[in-house]
Amino acid sequence: MSWLLTEDHKRIALLYLIVVTIFFGIGGMFAVFIRLQLSEPTGAMFDSNTYNKMFTMHGIVMVFFFLLPSIPATLGNFLIPLMIGAKDLAFPRINLLSWYIYIVGGLFTFYVLLSGGVDTGWTFYTPFSSSYSNGYVIAAGLGIFINGFSGILTGLNFIVTIHRMRAPGMTWFRMPLFVWAHYATSMIMILGTPVIAVTLFLLVLERGLHIGFFDPAYGGDPVLFQHLFWFYSHPAVYIMILPSMGVVTEIISTFSSKKPFGYTFIAFSSVAIAVFGFLVWGHHLFVSSQSVYAGMVFSVLSYIVAIPSAIKVFNWTATMYKGQVRLTTPMLYGIGFIGLFTVGGLTGLFLACLGMDVHLTDTYFVIAHFHYVMVGGAIMGYLGGLHFWWPKMFGKMYPAGWSKVSAIIIFVGFNLTFFPQFLLGYMGMPRRYAAYPVEFQTLNVLSSAGASILGLGYLIPLVYFMWSLKYGPPAPANPWGASGLEWKTASPPPTQNFEITPVVTTDAYEYSTEEVVEVG
């Protein structure tokens, strides 16, 4: 009970961790069903109505209830106060409220799941969602609407904390880059989330009360919905990937025992992504009957937003140069992230390219691209971060061998699952198809086979993490030879985080010259 009323950011982070993991399991289960269905072309396993509901629930659960909160609400919540030498977040009670709002939003989604689902796709395009879908659109929309407030409050909490709660001497440019990434993420959360909330609320009004916003039958404009939806949902992609980039920066630096190359470039590229990310939503609408000239503006802006990501990749790579590289489990995830995110980012250039996107949009190429970014990027970063800070969060070590094996299985399984989907997309297989012409079968079978490997890879960490809680050897305060303030306090940290408030006298990433002892 003390857990459910806790105001300790570390405990709230663990509450998030539990629920986020449950949602990851549910979303993953739907992914298994999707790949089973697509392993043969006739769509015989589930009828198309059921299939449509499964990919919709996969999207809603994974995007809104797993990816968006995953890193910020667990690792960010746990680490931001520790990294800047604070006792807690600025508003501990609001932090707890965020978690409860998330739970209420989640309960709506559970209600939708149990009562028969929704078949609109996670994108809720009108007028299908507002006038034609026979699923529980209103409940699903309200669930996401409510959950949005959780994200807004978390973002607000982070921004105020980072502004007001830094320890003496912790200047802006002494902050770890993880904190910079979360600052940029929080900006998107508080600026973008209200737009999706309003959009879904309008959708609920149109569906429930037939007030015309989007359906031409009521005098609305169906494409208006897409503009509003992507005005939030494209920046939301950066809510998912920026924290992961922050994690990877910490990991690469720590396990190269070297300052990140180009600290200020990495910090400002996070901010640039957050700002430019708001100006590219129209690249989702190139074939929507949007004007040709709008398409050109959105295309060129989409290329501009790709540049800060490229800068980060080059800086991470340069960080390893002349470092002392240790291939620990978190580092394997970090390197895996660089590889998969690079492919995900580069294939984004195909979709920003007008003449290319006309052929590729709404095909499996898009599916492959955003899974490389969301799963190859965001989830690799999340798992890397969990492996990196697990000893800090729980004071226990996990088995190094098993965790390295599972990291490699995930990397291989991921590529087998999603690389064939690029080829399928160029061949012209549309997304959201419950059945498909037979010439697409070989690649689909390959993808489904890869998914079984990927699924296994995700189960192994679940087992050894649980095992470590009870049987894992105790973790020292700084098992990795890392440099941040969070490693200067005990594992797990005391409720007040630090016995005495730390005073910061140096830049971030000042590694000790002492020999690093390999623990994990």
Binding site: S48, N49, N52, Y125, P127, S131, Y132, S133, P216, P222, V223, S257, K259, F261, G262, Y263, T264, V287, S299, V300, Y303, A306, A310, I311, T317, A318, M320, Y321, Q324, V325, L327, I335, G339, T342, V343, L346, A352, C353, L354, G355, M356, V358, H359, D362, L423, Y426, M427, G428, P430, R432, Y433, A434, Y436, P437, E439, Y511, T513, E514, E515, E518
Partner: protein, 359 residues
């Protein structure tokens, strides 16, 4: 029709497909180059600079703020930016071509409906989930939806466009290879989305004419539109040959493609969307000199019927030979004087050459 197995390119069967494939090859080459370079460096550094237990840890200064570091940062910002702008320009030029149907395209009308494609040809032939077209002719589709958003996608032509309810959208292509190709609905539209697929039959001109001549027996689209025009009572007010100008309603003869002055002082081009809006939402744009007296025909007319009406108004031609255009005889005059002319602005009259379909 295609053998199973892994294929990397779909059939290229349109004038644009080769350009799209070339752009794709360029994008793949750039992506492969950068992916491999990053992978190579990461692996190289992980091996070459691996931590050796027992060796002292050497601390580095942040070289990125030295002159050399700054040059590196500038180089790896500028090169991707330059390449990006090349990609942008190349993609935009293809997109521009894709967005501008050539002047004398053969017109076909498409209505999306859950979960089928309804196709109407000018000559009156109708088909469902099939599209018969001649090879080496520019084809322009004018499309709308009766319900939700669909998307008309032909991978072999490398092009698609959303089919949006409440408006007309166009898509064009020039098939270059005879054969049969998939039509996919690419915008999720509900339960049987994956069943909303069809086939394009690209035929030699002779086969196409043979196919057309089997006809529907219902007359051309314009003729069907004219009978609808009379049936709905439009002819009672809008002046035409049988009904002289009474001053209450604008003359539709010679209207299409011209610029219309509106009561509020603005101008509008009389295109397909304007005709559609004027029938369904007559109060939206009032022609200068006329009153807001027309009732809405919303709910009284299907999207298919609407397309026929549009086609009828188009057949009344651009603004030169006003009175001589429409003739009252419904059947005999189908192929009569609608030459491919241009109006004052040089806008092509969207009139395709008719095959000698009706007997």
């Amino acid at each position: 029709m295609e053998p199973t197995g892994i294929q990397l390119f779909p059939v290229a069967a349109s004038s644009i497909a080769g350009h799209v494939d070339a752009l794709y090859a360029f994008l793949v080459a750039v992506s492969a180059f950068f992916s491999l370079i990053i992978a190579f460096l990461v692996i190289l550094f992980a091996i070459k600079f691996r931590h050796r237990p027992g060796t002292p840890v050497v601390l580095h200064h942040d070289e990125s703020h030295s002159a050399g570091g700054m040059i590196l940062e500038i180089v790896w910002t500028a090169i991707p930016l330059g390449l990006s702008l090349i990609m942008f320009a190349w993609g935009a030029s293809i997109f521009f071509t894709e967005s501008r149907p050539p002047a004398d395209s053969l017109e076909v009308y498409v209505t999306g409906k859950r979960w089928m494609w309804k196709i109407q040809h000018l000559e009156g032939a109708r088909e469902i989930n099939e599209l018969h077209i001649p090879v080496d002719r520019d084809i322009r589709l004018t499309m709308t939806s009766e319900d939700v958003i669909h998307d008309f996608y032909v991978p072999a032509f490398r092009t698609k466009a959303d089919v949006v309810p409440g408006r007309y959208v166009t898509e064009w292509f020039r098939p270059t290879k005879t054969g049969q190709y998939h039509i996919f609905c690419a915008e999720y539209c509900g339960t049987k989305h994956s069943g909303m697929i069809g086939t394009v039959y690209v035929m030699s001109p002779k086969d196409y004419n043979d196919w057309l001549s089997t006809g529907s027996g219902e007359g051309s689209m314009a003729e069907q539109g004219e009978s609808l025009f009379n049936q709905l009572g439009c002819a009672n007010c809008h002046p035409s040959v049988i009904n002289k100008n009474n001053g209450r309603c604008p003359n539709l003869s010679g209207l299409f493609g011209t610029t219309v002055a509106l009561k509020d002082g603005s101008n509008v081009r009389a295109d397909e969307s304007y005709i559609r809006e004027s029938v369904l939402y007559p109060q939206a744009k009032i022609v200068a000199g006329y009153d807001d007296i027309m009732p809405t025909f919303k709910g009284l007319i299907t999207e298919d019927g609407m397309l026929k009406l549009v086609e009828y108004v188009k057949s009344l031609g651009p603004k030169n030979g006003t009175e001589s255009v429409a003739t009252p005889g419904p059947v005999e005059n189908s192929a009569s004087p609608h030459p491919s002319t241009h109006d004052a602005q040089g806008t092509p009259a969207p009139r395709a050459v008719r095959a000698p379909g009706n007997q």
